[in-house]
């Protein structure tokens, strides 16, 4: 790729990141003006709580996409995680958290290993995992007909309790996101993630453990998806089986809106956070409008998605010249 192209990409991502934050700010301001109900603290809290699980999933997705990969299995892992957490809750808080993480992490490991060692496309490997994990979820909940109820108060409060008026899980997610930022920007693993996405061959020749890095990000993605399901189960008080459809695409959209390149090599978690919140706020606004037909809602979401991404791209163009 020509040097200039790279220079443009750089300007691009830099701007796109600000872009996402900027758009978010604008939307929020408009909402403040337009909808009195939007202004309430409770509403803000609701948005954050609702955004918590998607945030975790998008966080993992960011790592994966920066390596130039993609993980379609997160939606299924999210449901599976929730079901397992509820199923394991009678055996104590630890079990309720450890079991889903173990299983989802293992599936992530499988994804990573297949991708790293067989050279199969991430898209297809994780697509298979999407099916497999969902099948597993149905298997443990006899075809989804049994919904396990959370039977552990400590675990339950993790989901329903709150601190300073903000849900516990929001705090938890905030901490994890911060950790994610540190890992991505301040550790050798983080650098390796960027390197693998920037140029796999070069990274290998420069002695980066490409395979281990790849496996690492998919394990991370699996774990975070599982954790997302877990905290969600804690909130809902049961392992709901009718969740997660299309969650992977929401996550991808959020990451891309956040300015991460699907081609890999560049991207930030700050951007992803903005992306997730943006989608959350939009959803909230569509509800504020009141009785909007569900189908129109979809049309609007789609149009808005296109709008944001196109806008960013053009802003990048301007920036380039």
């Amino acid at each position: 790729m020509t040097v200039l192209a790279v220079a443009q990409r750089r300007a691009g991502t830099a701007f796109q990141r600000q872009g996402a934050l900027a758009v978010l700010a604008v939307v929020v301001l408009i909402a403040f003006g337009a909808f009195p109900n939007f202004r309430s603290l409770d509403n803000a809290a609701t948005i954050l709580v609702a955004a918590a699980p998607p945030m975790l999933i998008a966080l993992g997705m960011t790592f994966v996409i920066i390596t130039g990969g993609i993980d379609l299995s997160v939606g299924s892992l999210y449901v599976l995680g929730g079901v397992l957490a509820a199923w394991a809750s009678p055996y104590g808080l630890l079990a309720a958290i450890a079991v889903p993480l173990a299983v989802c992490g293992a599936i992530g490991l499988l994804n990573g290993a297949l991708i790293a060692y067989t050279g199969m496309a991430p898209f297809i490997v994780t697509l298979a995992a999407l099916l497999g994990a969902r099948g597993l979820m149905r298997a443990v909940s006899d075809e989804g007909s049994t919904t396990y109820i959370v039977q552990n108060d400590a675990f339950h409060t993790l989901g329903t309790g709150s601190l300073l008026g903000i849900g516990n899980q929001v705090w938890l997610v905030a901490i994890i996101v911060l950790l994610g930022m540190v890992v991505l920007s301040r550790t050798r693993f983080g650098n390796a993630v960027y390197a693998v996405g920037g140029s796999e061959d070069a990274a290998a020749l420069m002695g980066v453990a490409v395979r281990r890095t790849r496996i690492g990000v998919y394990v991370l993605s699996g774990l975070l998806a599982g954790l997302a399901g877990t905290i969600n189960a804690a909130k809902l008080g049961s392992g709901v089986t009718v969740l997660g459809a299309g969650m992977e695409l929401d996550a991808i959209a959020a990451v891309v809106i956040g300015g991460t390149l699907l081609t890999g090599g560049a991207g930030t978690i700050a951007g992803t956070v903005a992306g997730v919140l943006l989608l959350g706020v939009i959803q909230n606004l569509i509800n504020q409008v009141g009785d909007l037909n569900s189908n129109w809602q979809q049309v609007i979401s789609g149009a808005f998605l296109a709008l944001v991404v196109v806008a960013q791209t053009y802003l990048v163009r301007l920036r380039r010249t």
Binding site: M1, T2, L114, T118, G119, M120, A121, F123, I124, V125, L127, A128, A129, L130, L131, G132, R134, G135, L136, M137, R138, A139, E143, L249, I252, A253, V256, L262, T263, N293, S294, N295, W296, Q297, Q298, V299, I300, S301, G302, A303, L305, A306, V309, V310, T313, Y314
Partner: protein
């Protein structure tokens, strides 16, 4: 540089090329042994009818993937086509068909423009219509499932021509056209070149944008065809459910068929085989009355095995 004759086939080279067909054969053998009434014409007929729309969509998807792209909006296009049919059926089946195909063209133009002109990543560009398209379709059909009684349209989806379903004829025709386009036409070669190395193709003076837009239009039109045929098949237009999740089936078919997602290569027959394989898997599960959990896990396993067999080996 001493040259070993290329004619001597490489080691383990047949596997990637014929893996899918072997898998199909294996599955057929299994069913012949364990599934009642499997080796019958009626069964062949049903499987072909059910797989035909997927094949038609997958062919378009294969072309898009050949350009290192992907199209998530095919399901939405099917829904749009389906939603428009009943609105214009009053003017006769031709009109209705034309309108729904035009819808395909429109979506294709949007996708193509977003990818080729704006320069969006295909997956994002088509995500927008994936999200909004179906919603729009349901709005158009104001949420109502509409029964279709127009004989001509029903003939397209459920009728026979020389003892073979029109649906199957159409799919066969689509296969021929696409295969021919890829192998013999200027457009086909350019498509592969763009998928292989877009900047190079640009510098070589290829009309990259035009080719890309055409590809997305083709894909969407094929999806629209699948959509209207499905309407004729289920003899009702249900925008909310028609073609749901077909994008994943199509992509699976293409990749299982040995077309790399990295572009630059399109395997038409492989794609068809991929679709047939997945159809056989599902049929086997249903006929043997297995629960969804098993079905999904088996599908996952088969996808992995097939793609593993078909993958590109790196010399090291």
């Amino acid at each position: 540089m001493t040259t070993l004759a290329l004619t001597t086939p490489r080691r383990a080279d047949w596997l990637p090329r014929y893996g899918v067909y072997i898998a199909i054969a294996a599955l057929v053998v299994y069913n012949a042994a364990f599934t009642p009434y499997f080796l019958t014409v009626s069964n062949l007929r049903i499987q072909l009818i059910q797989v035909a729309p997927i094949i038609i969509v997958a062919l378009g998807m294969a072309l898009v993937i050949g350009t290192e792209g992907i199209d998530l909006s095919v399901g939405a296009v099917m829904a749009l086509a389906a939603a428009l049919i009943p609105l214009y059926l009053g003017y006769g089946v031709i009109a209705a068909v034309i309108v729904s195909l035009l819808a395909g063209v429109a979506v294709g133009l949007i996708n193509g423009a977003l990818v080729a002109k704006v320069g969006l990543q295909p997956i994002v560009a088509t995500l927008a219509l994936f999200v909004g398209g179906r919603g729009l379709a349901v709005v158009i059909s104001d949420g109502q499932l509409k029964d279709i009684r127009n004989a001509d349209l029903i003939y397209l989806g459920s009728g026979d021509l020389l003892g073979i379903p029109v649906l199957v004829w159409t799919a066969a025709l689509a296969i021929l056209v696409v295969a021919f386009t890829v192998r013999r036409t200027v457009f086909g070669r350019r498509l592969l070149a763009i998928g292989g190395n877009r900047p190079a193709a640009e510098l070589a003076g290829l009309p990259v944008q035009r080719v890309l837009i055409t590809v997305y239009v083709l894909c969407a039109v094929l999806a629209a065809i699948a959509g209207l045929l499905s309407v004729g098949r289920i003899q009702s237009s249900d925008a909310s459910s028609i073609g749901l999740l077909i994008e994943l089936s199509a992509i699976t078919a293409v990749v299982v068929g040995g077309t790399p997602l990295t572009g630059g290569r399109v395997r038409v027959l492989g794609t068809v085989a991929g679709a047939v394989l997945m159809q056989l898997v599902i049929a086997t599960m249903i006929k043997n009355n297995l629960p969804p959990s098993t079905t999904e896990m088996v599908q996952a396993a088969i996808i992995l095995v097939a793609v593993y067999a078909a993958r590109e080996r790196k010399t090291r």
